[in-house]
Symmetry: C2
Subunit: 298 residues, 2 copies
C-alpha cells in the first residue's frame, strides 16, 4: 500500500451488532483495504468504522459500505442522542501517507456522485471538498437533522451537490468530504483544579487566540483526582503536537503545576511521531526517508 | 513485508564499480528483498551493501551475493587500508521489525553453512551467532588479516564453524553473524573546544563507565568551527538515543556549552523514533499499534 487514505464513515445504527458486522464485512472483502477499527454506541445509536486503503480500494469499499447502509438502515425508525441526517451520516476521506488533499477531494466527489446517482440519496460535500464556505461546516449542513431535512432540502441554498433534489425517506441524506487527519491527544496535569485545565485550554486553542488548528477543553479526571487538557489537532502538520505540548508545560508551570503524563486517543500517523523525535533531538539533516520502514513501504 | 531483517555485507572490492553493480544486481533480483543503500570506498578498497527482506528473501539474496563475490573478487590481488580476511569479508543479519535475534542467528547459521559447503569457503560465526565468547568479536577473528590466515586457520582454537578447515586462496574466509541494529548518531556542540567533546564522549560511552551499548568519541568539525560527540548505539532498545541525548545536554551545560544540533548517519528504525516521541511527550498509554503505519504493515 504505497498511498494510504483513511475513510471514517459514521452510521446511524449503534444497537444491532449484526448490522455493524454486515457493514464491516463490506470493507474487509475489498482488496487493498484494511479495517483499522470500529465502534458502536447504543446511546447515540451510532457507529464509526475506520479503514485505510489505496485510491481504488478506498473508493470501492466506501461505495459498497454506503450501499449496504442504504439497504439495512432505515432512518424512519432511528432515534439517538447524536445529531444525524442519514443512514450513512457522514463520511470523510483523509490523506495519511503519499496522498494529497486534492486526491481525497477527488475521491469524495467521485464516491459522492455514485451514491447520489446509483443509490438515489442526496449528497452534500463538506470541509475541504466543499468550495462554498457556507456549506463547509458539518454542523451547518446537519442543523435541523433528519426530521427537518424534508423542508430544508427544498431551500435554494441547500440544493444537494449530487443525487436527487428531494429527501430519501429511508436513507436520509449523506455528507461526504475530505479533511486532514485528526489527532486526539490529552495532557494530564498534576492538580485537581479544573480552573487551571480550563485556563490552559483557553490559552492554546484557536477559538480564544491560540493555535490555529487546535480545539481544547479542560476535563476533570475524577477517578484519578487530576485534570486534563483534552485536545483535537485538526492539522498536525501546521499545529504540531510537540509545540502545543511544550506550551502547555510552560503554562502549567505558571501555576506551579507539572504535566504528569499524556494520552493518545485512537491512532496517530507515523509522521507526527517522526516530527516529534526530530524536534526534541534537534536533528539538522532529518528526512522521512532516513527511516527504514518509510523507505521500504514507500 | 511483515518481518524485516537487514543484511549488511562488506566486500573487499571498492574500486571497480562494475563489480559492485554485479553484486547489487544479485539483491534486486530477489523477490521480497529491497536494496536500501550501497557505497564503495577506493582507499579502503571496500564496499558495503545494505538490503532488507523477509526470512526467505534475505537468505536467498545473502547466499547469491556471497556466491557472486566468490566469482568476481580475488583476494590474492587485494590491497586496501581496512582490515579484511575475505572477498565477502563480513555479513551481519539484523532484526529490524517483527523478527527476533534468534531468527537472525538461525539465518546466519544456515547461510554460513551453505557458503561453507557449496562455495568451499571457511566460515566463522560472530557476535550473537557465536556461542564461544573468545570468537564473538569481529576484530579478534579478523586479527592477522587474509595474509596470516593461512597459518591462523590451522590453530585448534580457530577451526572454522562451517566449510573447509583450510584457507580458500581466492576468497579468503568469511565472517557471518547476527547483531542488533546499529544507529550512528552525532550531537553537535556550540564550541570549537575538542576537549569538551572528548570529555563528554568519555562520560557517556561504555568503555569509560558510561552507557552499556554506546561507543563515542569527540570529533572536530573544522569547517563549521564546532565539535561533535560522534556515537554508535549498538543496542538502541537498551541504550536509547533520547536518554544519551539528554545526558549530553546536561554534560555540555556543565561547561557552559549548548547542544546546537544533531545528525543521523545512515538509516534508523521507526521504533527508535516512536520511542523518542513517547518519552518526550510523556505518554502513558503508548504502544506501537497506535501508529497507523505500524498497524497497516504489521
Amino acid at each position: 500500500m504505497n498511498k494510504i487514505i483513511e475513510c471514517v464513515p459514521n452510521f446511524s445504527e449503534g444497537k444491532d451488532a449484526n448490522k455493524i458486522a454486515e457493514l464491516v464485512s463490506e470493507v474487509v472483502s475489498v482488496k487493498g483495504v484494511k479495517l483499522l477499527d470500529y465502534s458502536m454506541d447504543s446511546d447515540h445509536n451510532r457507529s464509526v468504522i475506520t479503514f485505510c486503503g489505496d485510491v481504488e480500494g478506498i473508493k470501492e469499499a466506501a461505495f459498497n459500505i454506503a450501499r449496504k447502509a442504504s439497504e439495512i438502515i432505515d432512518m424512519r425508525y432511528h432515534k439517538g442522542q447524536h445529531p444525524r441526517i442519514g443512514a450513512l451520516d457522514v463520511m470523510p476521506f483523509v490523506p495519511v501517507k503519499n496522498a494529497t488533499m486534492e486526491e481525497c477531494i477527488e475521491i469524495a466527489r467521485e464516491v459522492g456522485k455514485r451514491i447520489g446517482d446509483e443509490l438515489n440519496i442526496p449528497v452534500y460535500l463538506y470541509e475541504e471538498a466543499q468550495p462554498n464556505p457556507k456549506r463547509k461546516n458539518l454542523e451547518d449542513i446537519r442543523r435541523g437533522e433528519y426530521e427537518h431535512f424534508f423542508e430544508k432540502i427544498k431551500m435554494p441554498e441547500w440544493v444537494p451537490d449530487f443525487g436527487p433534489h428531494e429527501m430519501n425517506e429511508k436513507s436520509g441524506v449523506t455528507v461526504i468530504g475530505a479533511r486532514h487527519y485528526l489527532i486526539a491527544y490529552n495532557v494530564n496535569l498534576g492538580t485537581n483544579n479544573i480552573d487551571i485545565a480550563n485556563k490552559i485550554a483557553k490559552a492554546v486553542r484557536f477559538s480564544s487566540g491560540g493555535f490555529r488548528y487546535l480545539k481544547a477543553m479542560g476535563v476533570d479526571l475524577k477517578q484519578r483526582n487530576i485534570v486534563q487538557v483534552s485536545m483535537n489537532f485538526t492539522n498536525y502538520e501546521k499545529t504540531p503536537v510537540f509545540r502545543v505540548f511544550e506550551v502547555i508545560k510552560r503554562e502549567a508551570a505558571r501555576y506551579g503545576v507539572n504535566v504528569v503524563g499524556s494520552e493518545l486517543i485512537g491512532l496517530i500517523p507515523a509522521k507526527a511521531l517522526y516530527d516529534t523525535a526530530e524536534y526534541y533531538l534537534m536533528m539538522e539533516n532529518f528526512s522521512y526517508d532516513k527511516v527504514i520502514e518509510y523507505r521500504l513501504y514507500e
